[in-house]
Subunit: 202 residues, 2 copies
Amino acid sequence: MERKGLLLVFSGPSGTGKGTVCKALVEGNLDLRLSISATTRSPRTGEVEGVNYIFLKKEDFKRMIAEGQFLEWAKVYGNYYGTPLPFIQKALEKGNDMMLEIDIQGAFQVREKIPEAVLIFVAPPSMADLKLRLNARGADSPEEIQKRLCCAIEEMKLACEYDYVIINDEVARAVEQAQAIIKAEKCRARYLKTYLAKLISM
Amino acid sequence: MERKGLLLVFSGPSGTGKGTVCKALVEGNLDLRLSISATTRSPRTGEVEGVNYIFLKKEDFKRMIAEGQFLEWAKVYGNYYGTPLPFIQKALEKGNDMMLEIDIQGAFQVREKIPEAVLIFVAPPSMADLKLRLNARGADSPEEIQKRLCCAIEEMKLACEYDYVIINDEVARAVEQAQAIIKAEKCRARYLKTYLAKLISM
């Protein structure tokens, strides 16, 4: 009996190691695919169309917004970024689990369009730890780090609106928790509804 | 930071191997305790007070019902059976995960009193498989088996009201799924609410 794929949406403050968790999760799970975003920004050296991004002209992107063809989209520094809805829908219908790594606003847009999406928030073990991690990266100025920490607090306030929160104190443990969430979601009664109906009728 | 324990409620038709799954789950999980029921029936040989059951006089049981001291209770063939609420509450407050193995009516009574209880339905892989298992047990007459199968179908119709459904096609796999559900439930945003609030304020 065929079952639809799961739509998993990961968000979390900058510096929580969300990217590392998502990467490890995809690598260890053959049924799980990372969604590819569309963007209007120019390809950078080495970026491949259809692998890193789907590169679109601004007029095409805007037309697709008007046609409701995005699961979620945002404009960042003059460029558009978004997740094409047909791409996700096709993958889910085929039974593939799809993973999005997007910001909070995007996650809530997804929930509105696909209420059965599973929203997972990756949180730092403490704000002090997040500060340490941002400092250790050495990528940002003290002012930039302060700004990121303020953002993180605002984002953390919305974490309880998510379905799940993974406290990333250790990557292996965080990946294990994400795997458990995927396994558990496949046992959700609402996910198995059609399956159960068939089971009774057999 | 202390967290409350989880309350897990297992139900499922007779013959699905729910008892085997619950037993394996408790044995492999030190934090998980199987709840002890109270009953008004007489102890059978070898049954120990406070281990197998809490044995109560009928008048005491009825008084406790009137005082709302049961999380759930039922009268079966003239005897009362029930789960004492204070016992469960104390365990959860201490952070112990508690497991109940009760029927559907009991499970819905629990959900009414403790909405955050996690309801897990153990289902057979197919009705044909359930029939095979009931036959293989050799414990029931053909009429009795037919009655159990009819009951099973009625119960299966309510499975989608549960939070999770575990299809028990293989005990090891079913236990793994139950373990994943426990791990995932501890990542539920609603479960971590207090923790998250503290995390932001630190």
